[in-house]
């Protein structure tokens, strides 16, 4: 019990060293000052939470994708009247132009939508024509499109408000409506002082205006890296984005690994999408572990219209893997190298100082001994700290990572117990995607 308490108390030291940000006072005053302007309206914490929710949606999940929309949005500038109409003339979107007026006079306008295989983009604005209400203070956490049976939720978006805050324009991404939908209803929950009202705008989908897709292909090709099978399943390239989906191993091999005690988790998967010899910008990615195994998706910018060649170039896979290995150590500098999961760990030095044991080791740059203990005469000692984290650049471009672990206590018979290890495997395998 003492030991657990000690680990917890170590964190206290860390907390005590935390420095209060210099701008705390400013921020508190500013928050209150802002309050003055809107005090009558009692814009409360809900607004702030809503703002946070939106920020989180933007930053937390879809950062890269949104950066993209952001870029496009600035490119669109006043997206509602200029470019959207232009796109519409090119038959790339549907102008709706319908309004809903809330009880407090705020007007919601759904300017238009764009539907393609990957998403439905909605362009809408909120405006107080009297110029008094700061619409950015309104909570609009819940907005979605309701179809026949299904509801299509907002998966992120970006808004831009006028300087006085009485108008805000949004471009948001929703799941694309199913093929059978004919009519949709845009539902918008406006929550503010003295108002909590559901606004609804119904319209008919003009399927002729839907952009469809340029490529939707099954890839179904495997790349094997260090015994892990990475299956690239499909690519969907639409006029707004390109999505690649796949999986890493299936549930059966995961289960077998689990039984064998060789459980691992993919940490990061890196690959490029190359079209006509050029790398397409990555916009975001996600990975999840569920009953189907580990699945991933990665989003890229749109493909060029004059597509000649398309390939996936694999870069690296980083995994966290259970090791559960004990390595006997001798004091001194002649422990040599050990090999774990194909990674070389060079044990440079083992020494005692002031009743503590120090172990210096070198690995490749991306290899981390995620969980490691010292077994001193059979007693399990947790790591106290990692000293002198150094990276050493070698010829040939590889980088070595030297560090020293400090453990409390000493022993005659020393063993290093490596429970979990994170490592990265590089590969330059390529998958060609035929275009036809």
């Amino acid at each position: 019990m003492k030991e657990v308490e000690n680990i917890l108390k170590n964190r206290k030291k860390e907390m005590d060293n935390i420095e209060v940000p210099n701008d705390l006072e400013d921020r508190l005053l500013r928050a209150l000052r802002h309050k003055k302007v809107i005090k009558k309206k009692r814009a409360n914490w809900k607004v702030r939470v809503a703002a946070l929710l939106i920020i989180f949606l933007l930053v937390g999940y879809n950062f890269d994708t949104l950066a993209y929309y952001g870029k496009k949005l600035i490119g669109y500038d006043t997206v509602m009247n200029g470019t959207l109409r232009e796109l519409n003339e090119l038959e790339k979107g549907q102008i709706i132009g319908k309004k809903y007026t809330f009880d407090n006079g705020i007007i919601l306008t759904l300017d238009g939508i764009m539907i393609d295989e990957n998403q439905m983009l909605a362009f809408y604005s909120l405006e107080d024509p009297s110029g008094k209400i700061d619409v950015t203070d309104m909570t609009m956490s819940q907005n979605n499109f309701k179809g026949l049976i299904e509801t299509y939720d907002n998966s992120g978006g970006k808004g831009k408000s006028s300087e006085d805050g009485t108008e805000i324009k949004w471009i948001s991404s929703f799941e694309p409506p199913r093929f059978f939908e004919r009519n949709l209803s845009f539902r918008f929950n406006l929550i503010g002082e003295d108002i909590s009202e559901l606004g609804e705008i119904s319209f008919k989908i003009d399927r002729d205006k839907a952009m469809g897709y340029s490529i939707k292909k099954t890839i179904n090709k495997k790349v094997e890296i260090e015994g892990k099978n990475i299956l690239f399943k499909s690519i969907t390239a639409s006029p707004t984005t390109t999505v690649i989906k796949g999986s890493i191993d299936d549930i059966i091999s995961l289960a077998i690994d689990e039984i064998k005690g060789e459980r691992y988790r993919a940490n990061q998967l890196n690959f490029d999408l190359i079209a006509n010899g050029k790398v397409i910008d990555n916009q975001g990615s996600g990975m999840s572990t569920n009953l189907k195994g580990i699945t991933f998706h990665k989003e890229f910018d749109t493909l060029p219209t004059d597509l000649e060649s398309l390939k996936i170039k694999f870069k690296s896979l980083s995994v966290v893997e259970d090791v559960g290995k004990k390595v006997s150590l001798k004091k001194g500098k002649d422990n040599g190298n050990i090999e774990i999961l194909g990674e070389t760990i060079s044990i440079d030095d083992v020494y005692e100082k002031n009743g503590e044991t120090f172990i210096s080791l070198t690995t490749e740059e991306d290899t981390i001994l995620t969980i490691v203990y010292l077994l001193a005469d059979g007693k399990k000692v947790k790591i106290e700290e990692t000293l002198s984290d150094d990276y050493e650049k070698k010829d040939m471009g590889s980088i070595l990572h030297n560090r020293t672990f400090r453990f409390k206590g000493t022993g005659n018979e020393l063993k290093l117990y490596i429970e979990k290890m994170t490592y990265t495997k590089e590969s330059d395998k390529e998958i060609n995607i035929p275009i036809d």
Partner: protein, 175 residues
């Protein structure tokens, strides 16, 4: 100016007085927010949230001696609400991603602590953090969280046991 006077002024709507009250214990407030939010930006957001709620509700504070525990309770509740709303957002996305942070700069046993702490239920994590990371007394925690003293004590002891089990349970004899 002493605390009492500042509170009186804050009650009359003096914003500077309210901020001064908070700044007098800035480190306590910041650390408290940080323990919940785990990073600077979110901690600052939570504190901003808190001050707005304080400003609106300070009129309702009858016992002025309780200003600090009252405001810290509000801070804790704001933090929890923010975290809860956030988890909802993740659910909407339907993303059950599990990833390990390969943080090079964090001590490896601290990573381990985070990992095992996260296995405990929220209420157990919470009391352990308040008790050990912030070194708060049992009765302070009880007042802040509005739960009986006995409950705080039992949560801490259960939390400690579970943490110990969890830390020791992933044994080194498995290989």
């Amino acid at each position: 100016m002493d605390t009492k006077q500042l509170i009186k002024r804050a009650k009359k709507g003096n914003k500077e007085a309210l901020v001064k009250l908070i700044m007098a214990q800035e480190k306590e407030y910041y650390k408290l927010a940080y323990v919940y939010m785990k990073n600077k930006d979110d901690a600052l957001d939570a504190l901003e949230d808190m001050i707005l709620v304080l400003y609106e509700n300070i009129g309702k504070l009858r016992n002025e001696d309780k200003f600090y525990s009252w405001s810290k309770t509000i801070l804790v509740n704001r933090c929890k609400k923010m975290l809860k709303d956030r988890s909802k957002v993740v659910l909407i996305d339907g993303l059950s991603s599990e990833s390990y942070e390969g943080n090079l700069y964090r001590k490896e046993d601290q990573i381990l602590l985070d990992k095992h702490m996260s296995k405990l239920s929220e209420k157990h994590q919470e009391v352990l953090k308040l008790r050990y990371f912030l070194d708060l007394e049992y009765n302070t925690i009880s007042e802040m969280l509005k739960v009986p003293l006995g409950t705080v004590k039992s949560r801490i002891s259960i939390g400690l046991n579970k943490l110990k089990e969890s830390l020791g349970g992933e044994g080194y004899e498995r290989s």
